[in-house]
Structures are given as structure tokens and as C-alpha cells.
Symmetry: C2
Subunit: 207 residues, 2 copies
């Protein structure tokens, strides 16, 4: 048993390389990456090929919709291209994941506008780093937009962005609304924070 | 706002496919898969290609060493092919991850034998499903093996496997040892379970 063993990790280089690449993913440490790599090693060949192809295809095809800046594999995304949706109702979200969450709720029938971020002065992100000019240009271009729903996150950055948008949309005469704030479904009064309770109280509605 | 919206998740098909493939990995649910996919979308092109290539290369190249059945991209792995290691000292482990853990400790200078599992009658796994015959054949083939260290896990299955191996190795006259059981490094007596404390007591050593 020597003391100065300076070897690798006992894995073939191709395995080490995969572990390294996997551990660059967010929230995946080296141990999780090794577990994933061992799982992939024991999976049928076509499963691994399917994953590799999905990665390449995604990078090859997915870009931003020229109208709403949501993710799309065509110049105009399937939502913007859907004639059954209300094109005079625009929901403004911070990112594609937010769009996805609203789509999952299956009750919204308008279109979207993806900002790709939120105003965060401490991180040096201002309105010019977001798709704000594009939103204004879109409103001007398409004319009769009935309503803009601001659906930014209920965070400091999301609030700041909502207030900024409300300010610049006001002169255009477009109706601007924000998502309701209050108790989440299944929410327990006892465990709600004060900010949520304040919103729920001030936003109360007649039964 | 219609009720019968039966649309997708608002993602382009290439993205949905990637999320689906990623969510087949162990411990990765659909939300984590979406988070990983969004991260990959925003990463430089070459990063994604590197991951895809690492996946394909791993599946293409990595097989089992013909001698120890550890992972290898050559017929004989780098450990079995290393003339500076003690080839008369064989450490028997359940899987490649265990081999990796021992290599990381950097104090073991012998070779390995990977069983690829442990005896688990309830799951229908018996000695014939493991590389046990291969171990016996190896001991016979290589002759003068000095010691076999049984390094199976400290679980019910690992224990059963260790006892079984000890039984069949005894007639061969090979010295057979097991890893010590006791308090782990940094272990706190107060929070140790009874089984660990019993092992630590019965295995106590003179100072």
C-alpha cells in the first residue's frame, strides 16, 4: 500500500469524460453525474443514442419566435401561428418556463411575449437587456391589442419589471393588467407569510 | 378562455423530446428535466455537442475488462494492465462505483474483481447471476493469489454475498478477509445506530 498513488478514478477515460460533462449541468454534482453515467451505461444502446440525438436536435432547431420570443423551431411559434387564439391579448412573461407553466394551466387563450429576464439593477440588467423595445414595436405594429397581462414573477425583480412596463404602456392607451396576488390553491392561512396575506386581503372579492 | 384546450406544453417538439429523454434518467423528474433543458438551450453550442459526443463515445467504447469485469475501454483494463500493482491481492466489489470509491481513497494497490451485483434471493439474484464462477476461474488460472479482500456493501445482500464467497473460497486455501466495520470517520457515538456500535465494539483494537 503505497502513499503516493497518483492515479485516476479507476474509470475508463470515456466514462470520466461523460461524468465531467454531466456534472456541468446545474444542480448535478460529481456523485450524481457518476450515478447518471452508470445508469446510462446499463441502459440499452438506443436509449443513449436517443438522448444524444435529442440534445443535438434541440440545439440545431430551437430558436426564438420572431413575434413573441418564446422558444420555437420555426420562425413563428405554434402559439403565434394559431388562428384560434386571441391575438389581441398578450401575456408578458419573464421566461419560456413561465409560458410553459401558464400553458399547463390550460385556461389562457391569448398569445405571449417573453422578456427573457427581469429588471435587476443590482445585476446590471435594465430594460434594454430585455425584449421591451420588441414589445412596444409589436404593439405598434399589430394595432388593436385589447389587453396586456403582465405575468412577471412575484419577486422584487418581477415587481420592478411590472411597474416599469405599466408606466411605459400607459401612454399607449392599452389596458394593462397584472396577475392576482393572494393565497395559493391549498394555501393555509396559518402558514401564509404576511406579504401574501396582505395581498389576499387587499385583493378580496365579493362573493 | 375556453375549457377544452388540448394543446401541448407550449414548447417546440425538439425541446419536449429532450425534456422527455432527460426525465428518464434516475432521480430526474419532469421539472428538473425542463430546468436542465433550458440550461442546455442557453449554453454555447459546443458544450451541448460535447455532452452528446461523450454519451455516444461512452456507449461505443466502454465495456467490461476480461479479467476483473470492471469498466474498460480496452480488453484488459488499466488497473489489470498495471504492472506496478499487486496482482496477487484481489479486492471483490459489487459494482464499478465501489471500485471507484476505493480508488479514490488512494491507499489500495492490488487489483479488483467486480461481481456486478449481490446475492438477493428476494429479487431472484443468486450466485450464478454474478461473476462468481469467473472469480473462481481467475483464482485457478492465476495460481498464487495471496489474499482476497471481500469489499461488498454492509447491507443484508452484501453480507450474504460475503458469507457465500467466504464459504466457497475456503476450500481453495486462499486467505479471505473482509473490510472492517465500525464508526465512520467523523462518526458521532451519540448518533450511531446499534449495529454500527456493536461492530465497533466487537472489532475493537489495542492501542
Amino acid at each position: 500500500m503505497t502513499e503516493n498513488l497518483k492515479r485516476g478514478d479507476g474509470l475508463p477515460p470515456a466514462m470520466t469524460r461523460l461524468v465531467k460533462e454531466l456534472s456541468r449541468l446545474p444542480g448535478i454534482g460529481e456523485k450524481t453525474a457518476a450515478r447518471l453515467a452508470f445508469n446510462l451505461l446499463n441502459r440499452p444502446r438506443q436509449d443513449v443514442i436517443a438522448l444524444a440525438e435529442a440534445l443535438l436536435e434541440m440545439k440545431e432547431r430551437v430558436g426564438l419566435c420572431s413575434e413573441c420570443f418564446g422558444l420555437s423551431d420555426t420562425a413563428r411559434c405554434s402559439i403565434c401561428g394559431d388562428s384560434e387564439r386571441a391575438h389581441d391579448l398578450i401575456c408578458v412573461v419573464e421566461g419560456p418556463a413561465d409560458l410553459m407553466a401558464i400553458e399547463r394551466a390550460r385556461t389562457y387563450n391569448g398569445v405571449y411575449h417573453v422578456l427573457h429576464g427581469a429588471i435587476a439593477p443590482l445585476d446590471g440588467i435594465g430594460p434594454d437587456d430585455l425584449k421591451v423595445q420588441e414589445l412596444l414595436a409589436r404593439l405598434e405594429r399589430s394595432g388593436g391589442v385589447r389587453e396586456v397581462i403582465i405575468a412577471t414573477n412575484a419577486t422584487v425583480e418581477g415587481e420592478a419589471t411590472a411597474l416599469y412596463l405599466a408606466k411605459i404602456l400607459k401612454p399607449l392607451g392599452v389596458k394593462t393588467t397584472r396577475l392576482a396576488r393572494g393565497l395559493p390553491a391549498g394555501g393555509d392561512l396559518e402558514y401564509s407569510d404576511s406579504a401574501t396575506l396582505s395581498s389576499a386581503l387587499s385583493g378580496r372579492r365579493e362573493l
